[in-house]
Amino acid sequence: MFETLSHTALQHYWWILVSLLGAILVFLLFVQGGQSLIYQIGKTADSRKLILNTVGSKWEFTFTTLVTFGGAFFASFPLFYSTSFSGAYWVWFIILFAFVVQAVSYEFRSKPENFLGTKTFDAFLFVNGLLGTILLGAAVSTFFTGSNFTIDSQRHSEWTMATRGLEAALNIQNLSLGLAVFFLSRVLAILYFFNTISNEEVITSSRKHLLYNAAPFVVFFLMFVGFLIFSEGFAVDPVTGNVSMEPYKYLHNLIQMPLVAVLFLAGVVLVLAGIIMPVLSFDKWRDKAIWMAGVGTVLTVFSLFLVAGFNNTAFYPSVADLQSSLTIANSSSSHYTLTAMSYVSLFIPFVLAYIVFAWRAINNKKADVKDLENEHVY
């Protein structure tokens, strides 16, 4: 089946899968959003415990999606993996450290004799919520703003900045996406609380914080979109493979790929609706808002990835040497490997099905503090 597809078709197929994983990852960052809200919404030890147990039952999904996102990138576009991870060394390590401390904090925070104390583990979770989201957003934004590397004929890469990727955080466009992702994760977390928590104190506080976080999210997201639409982009000549700067490249991509533009607009509308509807009619929308905003997030991020990689665009551009820029064509795995992996990808619907099944099984009613008494408590 997949053997008959061209290498280009397989590259596009895998870019779609990687984009989908990236989009689902951003949605699942609501776990990080919840962690970054523990001091603002969780005013008491009990409410913090409730918040962390609500998002805590999902932390493995986010973590696993991140790991799979990295694995899928390695498998399908290995030149990106080898170039970006070694080049932007410090950015990736800070992100990784933020996730390392997260993984243990849930299990350790409330255990007796945990050496560092509950407050320290809670601080780790907050740091993960803050740095994990901002830096991941900023790193993805470099798909549009470019990075500083060169690649030789044997595909060995060199990073030209001593700051090793940290320089990306100083770019206002990157920063605006990083902050947009941070505030979006908090908005999604609040909507998730509406769906899963019955405790009045937490819900009242969450309702108050929804707009506090939604407003900066909208501002930073619009800033990013403004930069994106009006900036030059990294265009690839489909015949020669040469990379050049093209004014309004990403706007052109949206116009030339109308389906992607529709997905993008639908995504944005759904996210905004997910925020506004529970404000207008809380009881009617408290359960549904997270799914509306969640689907919207997935569609928006998915379409942004497609804008970055499709339509003869360099998805990981180099500002140090334009011709070193990575495209889905020059950075991918071989036809054979992409074919083999494509067969494996047929399991994805099955994986999604059992995730939904298991998720429903353990999320069958709203949680309150008293429900934590007989459970495995974080």
């Binding site: 493995e60 990736w92 299990e107």
Partner: protein
């Protein structure tokens, strides 16, 4: 391919070793305890005996503590291939990435989905659904190990690929050959069974502590029965797969085998040095001399090649060559490796000018000499000798401990059947002390595997010096020490929490 700063290579290796060792502190227990817990819960569901539920929840709590830190240390390893070994990542990405992606899609999600049900689903899902989740967690955890071990095995024995000069990398030509390589199958079975043995020793050791303290004796003994049966079966299995592993090593990685056995001059009817004490290196020959040793005649030939008369090549044979046994001198392999490297470079230059004739010539030379490619980056034949003493001692310590664990499981079962185990204080203390020994044994297994194959990151094709990322050495040193501090702090936290939870005993779930 360029050789970088030697300090950069050493620190990059040190960082990978550090993170891998820390990760491997937690993974084997996850692999084994997941099955032991699944057995225990199965008995509970089958019999309806609430004692088994208490037992299951107690060990499950310890599993959870260990699982979290295993996950935390694992994510670093996945990304470290890119951060610190970028040239290697490109060179093998077409092969190595596929198992990793398969692992993500097929194994990690099973594990992460059902581990959540396993922990928080006791009062939310049916007994049978919960039991299925526990089993699926165990299967997912073990499947995770399969794919990463397939990738590691490929580095020891690269098969199923061809080199593409256009992309300057290996490209997969047969997925099944990669997946079902004899080295991969054996490595998976040997490695996961080491986790099963470690977990069984862990359960027996902790249960022994309860008996020594005269606490919760019945529940501790019930735990011991499950662990001893599982451990005994798996420890026999680990010996069989270990033996096969040595045979494969003798066949595919003769230098590692020669170092592990300290065979300097090859011989037929080679004796096996059961134990030996080194006195130092002979300055003239470079041979590591024994001060004392205990040998079994002909046994090494028999074990490695199933033939007492078989020739076992020594370090000297591999370095200097042995025409009689068709072993090419390493200096010749270095020369051929340099030819391959030059041809690869020439191919790239010819391609730029579209000189098809030169491209074809270069491709031919490259193909003829490709299997020596890694040798081209070496400066001297002796570069291919791994640390002999470390490999030799690590192997023997691991093997002796492996046999001790068999005895431990046998004795545990005998004493349990005779109902005398409470009175065997010496045995209970030995079982408790065996917990750190099990960790030591499994770590030493990796030392043999990884140190023994130096200087290769991919056997014969790429040296560690060639595979490393070109990063400022200071950055790697900094991240090394950050890892050291963070992981050590987390390890201390984990051990303290574990000890406390064990002290709380078999309550309803251990931590509640």
């Amino acid at each position: 391919m360029t050789n970088f700063d030697p300090a950069l290579v050493d620190w990059s290796r040190a960082q990978f070793a550090l993170t891998a060792i820390y990760h491997w502190f937690f993974v084997p227990l996850t692999l084994g305890l997941s099955f032991i817990v699944a057995f225990m819960e199965s008995i509970y569901v089958k019999t309806g005996n609430e004692e088994w539920k208490r037992i299951t929840k107690f060990w499950m709590t310890l599993f959870g503590i260990n699982f979290a830190i295993g996950v935390a240390t694992g994510i670093i390893l996945e990304f470290e291939f890119g951060t610190n070994w970028s040239n290697y990542s490109w060179f093998v990405g077409d092969i190595f990435g596929a198992p990793l992606a398969v692992e993500g899609i097929m194994a990690f999600f099973i594990e992460s989905t059902f581990v959540a049900v396993m922990f928080i689903g006791w009062n939310k899902v049916s007994k049978k659904f919960h039991l299925a989740s526990t089993w699926l967690t165990a299967i997912g955890a073990n499947l995770s190990a399969l794919w990463i071990l397939v990738a590691n095995s490929w580095m020891q024995y690269p098969v199923g690929v061809h080199f593409n000069p256009d992309t300057a990398r290996n490209e997969m030509s047969n997925f099944w050959e990669v997946l079902f390589s004899p080295v991969a199958i054996n490595k998976f079975l040997h490695t996961v069974s080491s986790g099963y043995v470690l977990a069984a020793v862990f359960v027996i050791g902790i249960s022994s502590w309860f008996l020594l303290k005269n606490r919760q004796i019945r529940l501790a003994k019930m735990s011991m029965v499950v662990a001893a049966v599982f451990g005994l079966v798996m420890s026999v299995f680990i010996i069989l797969t270990g033996d096969h592993s040595a045979k494969l090593m003798a066949k595919y990685q003769p230098m590692k085998f020669a170092a592990m056995e300290n065979v300097y001059e090859g011989q037929s009817k080679a004796p096996l040095v059961v134990i030996g004490l080194f006195q130092g290196k002979n300055e003239t020959t470079g041979k590591e001399e024994f001060a004392a040793k205990l040998e079994i005649q002909n046994f090494l030939s028999s074990m490695a090649f199933m033939d007492a008369n078989a020739f076992v090549p020594g370090i000297k044979d591999i370095i200097e060559g042995n025409a009689e046994h068709n072993i090419m001198p390493t200096s010749e392999r270095i020369a051929k490796g340099k030819l391959a490297m030059d041809a690869l470079k020439g191919y790239g230059e010819a391609k730029k000018t579209n000189d098809t004739e030169k491209m074809a010539q270069s491709a031919k030379v490259l193909e003829e000499n490709y299997r020596h490619l890694g040798y081209g980056s070496l400066s001297a034949p002796t570069d291919i000798i791994p640390p002999v003493k470390l490999t030799f001692y690590s192997f023997r310590t691991m093997v002796f401990l492996g046999f001790w664990f068999v005895l431990l499981f046998v004795l545990a079962l005998i004493y349990l059947m005779k109902n005398k185990i409470d009175h065997k204080k010496w045995f209970l203390r030995a079982a408790l002390i065996s917990i750190p020994l099990a960790y030591l044994a499994t770590q030493l297994g990796w030392v043999v595997t990884e140190v023994g194959r130096q200087p290769w990151v991919i056997q014969d094709l790429m040296s560690v010096a060639t595979g490393v990322s070109h990063i400022n050495t200071g950055s790697v040193i900094t991240t090394f020490f950050i890892f050291l501090v963070v992981f050590t702090v987390l390890l201390i936290a984990e051990v303290k929490i574990m000890v406390k939870q064990i002290g709380l005993g078999f309550k309803d779930g251990g931590n509640e």
